[in-house]
């Protein structure tokens, strides 16, 4: 058997094609694509909900949708966008690209990775199944008690919310743990922390934030569910319970979550800016530090969501200051990007247009954000449409524009075809114009006194024109998103010109291998000497498909390389697990348990528990002994 190195690697790493491989894959690239497809489907669902709301609000006194349904729509829209679209989408890109960017062959725990995806999918289906019985969560995405207590919302709506989010939390937590270990332990030799791509820094910061922030939300939901189903009194005011406790627990999670959403998006921007400015990023170190400090300060600002609850003035002053402080790292980042663009020779391709759109929108969102950090202003404007405008500028501008930039930037790598540039530009302008037309008027509506979360309004309050503009804008926006989808389905999947390994002249390792990359990512594990390996080390340009240094191909087994945490010195050869059904079986068992808790049927809980434990035992069962 005289196989060449790449044939040998092919044999070791390729998974059998077919449905079986979809269900059993542990390849981070397949899992990353699954995340992206699923998250995009949720984006479309959340988008349809938004369009329904905007249709209802287009004219005064419309009654297309009743108040009850409207409550479910805005709640599910917020929940979907925050929990089931943005984070999983960014985790999808993270899954696909972190190993490629650090020159590894997979994530540290591939089976855990598959498990995280299945939990995400099942939790999403669980949450959306609430529509089937007409009982979708209806108390807003932050689900404040006491409204969500059993007395005031007795039906299953809120149980879907609490159980669904605890369920989803499993996925996000294991995903983050996996990123932390992967990033700290599997970087290619030489890629010390201070040479790590900024997107990888961002995913690392986000993952730490998830690990520290999410438990608070999980516990709050567990307590609320115990109140609702077992008659406990955590949030029962009649027995002395504290409604503010929910708000604290929610926002201890909720504010870091804004950065959990925002940081990876910023990482995408930091990857794209230098490539399309044709020069090194200015202030690499500052950007890396800004990423980490944002994540940390993000934990100190949660109370600013509660300025209207009547807290002591001193604590308000503290949190107000912290909220203003957090703009400093953001400002550093913006200046570093601008400097890079100005000092470079920018090429205005679609991914870069979305980045510029992001910068524009985000600065406006940031300015209105600082306005809120001033307590007196916040108290005037809280719960008005001004807030709706602000957080869409931050969330849509801060996360969705970069996500579209990433789609245009990375789809050629993932599927091997270039997207259509004309359609790309068209989609950008539709989205950019549509976005501003939808959300800018909402600032004015807020100042004119229109409250959020109302299903209709009377004519003659001076709101009609602005609402109509916002509704028209949302259709333009939807059209733009449709163009992206068509572009992907038509050109990204088949018609587009072959992308070749490196269509953009990129600086990071994912461009050193073919598009799409082989199952083993790189024939040879690269040795990295700087922050822009592909620009500094011409010998790495074809490391994905040509072997020079046989020792670095690790072709003896299903292996990748482990390195030290700080300096990335080679430390070990790690054998990676093969495709297996155990993650999906375990995840399925856990889903059954959650259905059991929802229906309060003990046999179902037990059944699910048995499946989950069986799956877990098969998973953890050691293979044959080493020797």
């Amino acid at each position: 058997m005289a196989l060449t190195v790449d044939e040998r690697l092919e044999e070791l790493w390729e998974e059998e094609p077919g449905l079986g491989s979809v269900l059993s894959t542990v390849d981070h690239k397949s899992i990353g694509k699954h995340y992206i497809y699923t998250a995009f489907a949720f984006f479309l669902a959340g988008g349809v909900e938004a369009l329904l709301m905007r249709t209802q609000l287009a004219r005064p006194d419309l009654h297309l949708i009743g108040p009850e349904a409207f409550n479910e729509l805005f709640s599910m829209h917020g929940i979907t966008m925050i929990f089931f679209f943005v984070t999983p989408m960014l985790f999808g890109f993270g899954n696909y690209f972190v190993p490629l960017l650090i020159g590894a062959r997979d994530m540290a725990f591939p089976r855990l990775n598959a498990f995280g995806y299945w939990i995400f999918l099942f939790a999403g289906l669980f949450m959306y199944s609430s529509f089937l019985i007409g009982r979708a969560p209806n108390d807003g995405w932050f689900n404040y008690v006491t409204l969500s207590n059993h007395q005031f919302t007795p039906a299953l709506n809120i149980d879907y919310y609490t159980l669904g989010l605890v369920f989803l939390g499993i996925s996000t937590t294991v995903g983050s743990i996996n990123f932390i270990v992967t990033i700290l332990k599997l970087r290619a030799p030489g890629m010390s922390l201070n040479r790590m791509p900024l997107f990888v820094w961002a995913i690392l910061a986000t993952s730490f934030s998830v690990v520290f922030a999410l438990p608070s939300l999980t516990m709050a939901n567990v307590m609320l569910e115990l109140d609702r189903r077992a008659g406990f009194n955590f949030f029962n005011v009649a027995k002395g319970g504290d409604a503010i406790l929910w708000q604290h627990l929610f926002w201890i999670f909720g504010h870091p979550d804004v950065y959990i959403i925002f940081l990876p998006a910023v990482g995408i921007v930091s990857s794209i800016v230098p490539v399309f400015s044709r020069r090194k990023i200015i202030g690499y170190l500052w950007l890396a530090l800004a990423t980490m400090t944002t994540a940390i300060i993000g934990f100190g600002v949660w109370v600013h969501h509660m300025f209207a609850t009547g807290l002591p003035t001193l604590s308000m002053a503290f949190f107000s200051a912290a909220s203003m402080l957090i703009t400093i790292p953001s400002a550093i980042q913006i200046f570093a990007w601008l400097a890079t663009i100005i000092a470079g020779k920018p090429v205005f391709k679609t991914p870069f247009l979305f980045v510029l759109g992001f910068l524009f929108v985000f600065v406006i969102g940031g300015v209105t954000g600082v306005m809120f950090a001033a307590v007196p202003f916040d108290q005037q404007i809280t719960d008005s449409y001004f807030v709706v405008a602000h957080f869409h500028y931050v969330l849509f501008g801060g996360a969705v524009f970069p996500i579209f930039a990433a789609i245009y930037y990375w789809v050629p790598k993932m599927w091997g075809h270039l997207l259509h540039e004309g359609l790309g530009k068209l989609s950008f302008w539709l989205i950019f114009v549509g976005f501003n037309l939808t959300f800018f008027p909402m600032h004015i509506l807020g100042l004119l006194g229109m409250p959020r979360r109302i299903y209709t309004y009377h004519a003659g309050l001076g709101w009609d024109g602005y609402n109509l503009a916002a509704s028209i804008g949302s259709s333009v926006l939807a059209l733009g998103i449709l163009v992206v989808l068509v572009n992907f389905l038509l050109y990204g999947l088949r018609r587009g010109a072959p992308a070749g390994p490196d269509p953009w002249g990129g600086d990071s390792l994912e461009w050193a291998t073919s598009s799409p990359p082989p199952a083993y990512n790189f024939v040879e594990i690269p040795k990295v000497q700087g922050t822009e390996p592909l620009w500094d080390q011409p010998e790495l340009r074809d490391i994905g498909f040509r072997a020079r240094d046989v020792e670095m191909t690790l072709a003896e087994g299903h292996d990748t390389m482990g390195t030290t945490v700080v300096d990335a010195e080679p430390e070990s050869v790690l054998t990676m697990p093969e495709a297996t059904y155990t993650p999906i079986v375990t995840a399925f068992g856990i889903s059954v348990v959650f259905v059991g808790f929802l229906t309060l049927l003990l046999p179902i809980i037990v059944l699910g528990g048995v499946i989950a434990i069986g799956g877990m035992m098969a998973w953890l069962r050691p293979k044959e002994l080493p020797e």
Binding site: A108, F109, T173, S176, I177, N178, I180, V181, L184, K185, L186, P189, V211, F212, A213, L214, P215, S216, T218, M219, A220, M223, L226, A230, G231, F232, N233, F234, K239, G240, G241, D242, L245, L249, V550, E551, M552, L554, A555, E556, G557, D559, M561, G562, T564, V565, P570, E571, S572, V573, L574, T575, P622, L625, P626, E627
Partner: protein, 203 residues
């Protein structure tokens, strides 16, 4: 094919230098566990003196000498856990099983003590629904008890694996990981014991 001298340590589990992937993963997991407990402990602190008129207060129900003894039992189990790890690293399967079982038994003693304590509290009229003190106390300590129980199950599985001969010295890291978890659960108990039982309350 030649073995790469730079990278040839062991295949599989990890290395002796630095921290292995699995260990780092467990550390990250425990960090998030800390915050789950953190949320419950803060809730307890907020609620422990919110008792309704005529319902039991912390001072009335706590029996500190009793709980001190059961805390001591749990603390000792950390010691036996360390001995179990040392045994497997020496390759002494016999002693490994002795110490694993000792750790599990100490854990079970602690749980039995907790069950007895809960029963007594219920007899004194403090249930999960009596007042907020009851709710937050039982949920916090019960959540911890569930963690100890999970740990006992892991210890017993390790015991079974060793009997089957499936826990050779090369797999010592598995014992180390379970040990990490076990020590963590112990340390959390120290915090709970201090915050819940020792720090005096108004009522």
């Amino acid at each position: 094919m030649a073995v790469n001298p730079a990278t040839a340590e062991q295949h599989g589990v990890g290395t002796s230098t630095g921290i292995s992937n699995a260990k780092l993963g467990v550390w990250a997991f425990l960090a998030s566990e800390c915050l789950l407990f953190g949320a419950l402990i803060s809730t307890y602190l907020l609620y422990h003196d919110r008792t309704l008129p005529g319902t039991p207060t912390p001072r009335q129900v706590y029996d500190i000498p009793y709980t001190s003894v059961s805390s001591f039992v749990l603390l000792m189990s950390s010691l036996t856990m360390v001995l179990a790890l040392a045994a497997i690293q020496r390759g002494d399967q016999e002693k490994l099983r002795v110490w694993l079982m000792a750790t599990a038994l100490l854990g079970m003693t602690f749980i039995a003590g907790q069950v007895y304590e809960f029963t007594r509290f219920v007899q004194e009229g403090l249930t999960l629904k009596t007042n907020l003190f009851g709710t937050s106390f039982f949920v916090l300590t019960g959540f911890h008890g569930a963690h100890v129980t999970g740990g006992i199950l892991m210890l017993l599985s390790l015991y079974g694996m060793s009997l089957d001969g499936r826990l050779p010295t090369e797999r010592a890291e598995v014992v180390e990981l379970v040990g990490l978890y076990w020590h963590f659960v112990d340390v959390v108990w120290i915090v709970i014991f201090t915050v819940v039982y020792l720090i005096p309350t108004g009522k």
